[in-house]
Symmetry: C2
Subunit: 290 residues, 2 copies
């Protein structure tokens, strides 16, 4: 397995690396910025060659390789709808969409219906779908998935999925952020929809980018307003798990495995940090067009 | 001015409220989660009635009103491309797009070219554009704008815009996150494009949602790898400003004004926190469809 870890931090970072049995490497950066009284954590999860944008050596250059391995994550069996559905269709199949490939799928202008051409517009550096009739460009950008990590009596709430993909596997309640809501509101909504749990957001916990599929996970720590929950239509069951009992061998999404591992580390350390990082998977190839 | 502040924090929060001369109210929440050794800050900026999703009283209920006013933000003159362009077109006009209105603009399927209908699909609660030929749904989701707040010799780097909207006004280097890059990579890229500055990301600094226009700002603290910068094609000039000299009366975007105010507060307090919050503007009406 190729271990390529993006070093986002400074020389003051300390790093630990985690290897899964299903093809990704996680590296957790703890760094303390100059003057800072608080600590943020950087996370990078990768199993493919992680490239890094450098303005001096465009288009890309590979980054730091780390070898220190301290522990193992449990398997994450399935790639998920949330981690695969990039083209906005209602298809539930697991589709890897590269930064250029996604644009190539846009054949028509959604405003006028004209055919599109795929070209790099003047003043830009990236391939776009440009309408040959009205000239409008259909931009595609990463999507945010928002969710809650609910703490209750030293346990966390997980939902067993009642939909494909990853049917029957466990996840934190989460879903796509909608226009018109904040990330926290979206996380609260998704938690209600999937677990019928009324929660209060306590603090932001993790921002995990998955560049290869154009997704960003924003996870909040939350607490139950009332100790009631029950499965929504998309869940088979909902259950509070003590940290020792979290079913890492049947989690639906690698993002959730990373989030829960970070949380367990924070609990053991007696603190809650905000974590930022990147997840890259071996079954994707990375393409930069700029 | 209607002051409606979203209380995302717990009872341990302390709150200060800031009023601008151009129509938004900012409230900054500092909270310390249970067990936390670090502090996160919640921010809410609003001038319209901020409503809050509650699973018990769906669809929405208004939230906490705060009156404590401690200081004033300087004017933010213009709404910006970044804060207005929601429909993916190349138009530079300032367009307010509501959560339903944006869907109504999608007339054709981008995959097959078929006409769309606007309806709530089975199992969903939100209006979508559904192709009447192939059945695919064109989802629209908020977009991320990523940028850098570059610290150098107790100054910060700003760029004067060379493009509309907000031509001639100052901003932090920032732009839309692209598929295939992490938020930090996108922020580094935008900084290079707009300021020809080679930077290293130090830590995440702010996550600011603007739900009414479907945008989320992700701002990183960064430092110059080399003390060189010069305006890119989208900038008239780039300049380091001491904190006392930041041109708050000619900033392009409210999100940047909020970010810089938070930063100044952090510097005065001798710490750097991660901030999360919401910006709402009076010239938008809020619509929830769920």
């Amino acid at each position: 397995m190729l271990k390529a870890i993006q070093n986002l931090g400074s020389s003051t970072t300390t790093t630990t690396t985690t290897t899964t049995t299903t093809g990704f490497v996680a590296s957790f950066y703890r760094l303390k910025p100059p003057h800072a009284t608080t600590t943020s954590a950087f996370v990078s999860v990768s199993s493919s060659l992680l490239s890094y944008y450098s303005p001096r050596t465009r288009p890309i250059k590979p980054l730091l390789f780390l070898t220190r391995k301290t522990r193992s994550l449990e398997p994450v069996r399935a790639q998920t709808r949330s981690e695969s559905k990039m083209d906005g269709t209602s298809s539930s199949s697991s589709v890897a969409v590269h930064s250029s490939g996604s644009v190539r799928k846009i054949n028509f202008c959604q405003w006028c219906g004209g055919q599109t051409k795929h070209d790099i517009p003047d003043g830009e550096e990236k391939m776009r779908a440009i309408c040959t009739v009205c000239g409008k460009i259909t931009y595609q950008n990463p999507k945010m998935v928002v969710g809650c990590l609910i703490e209750h009596d030293n346990k966390v709430l997980l939902c067993k999925r009642n939909i494909q993909p990853s049917f029957g596997l466990w996840t934190l309640p989460a879903g796509y952020l909608e226009i018109g809501e904040s990330a926290a509101e979206g996380a609260i909504r998704e938690t209600w929809e999937e677990a019928h749990a009324e929660v209060e957001v306590v603090s932001p916990f993790a921002h995990l980018d998955i560049p290869l599929i154009g997704q960003t996970y924003i996870i909040f720590l939350a607490k139950l307003r009332k100790p009631h929950f029950s499965p929504g239509p998309e869940s088979l069951e909902c259950q509070l798990f003590s940290l020792d009992d979290i079913p890492f061998d049947s989690l639906a999404f690698s993002s959730m495995a990373v989030t829960l591992k970070l949380y367990i580390e924070d609990v053991k350390a007696g603190s809650r940090k905000f974590h930022y990082g990147t997840i890259n998977k071996r079954y994707f190839t990375m393409h930069f067009l700029y």
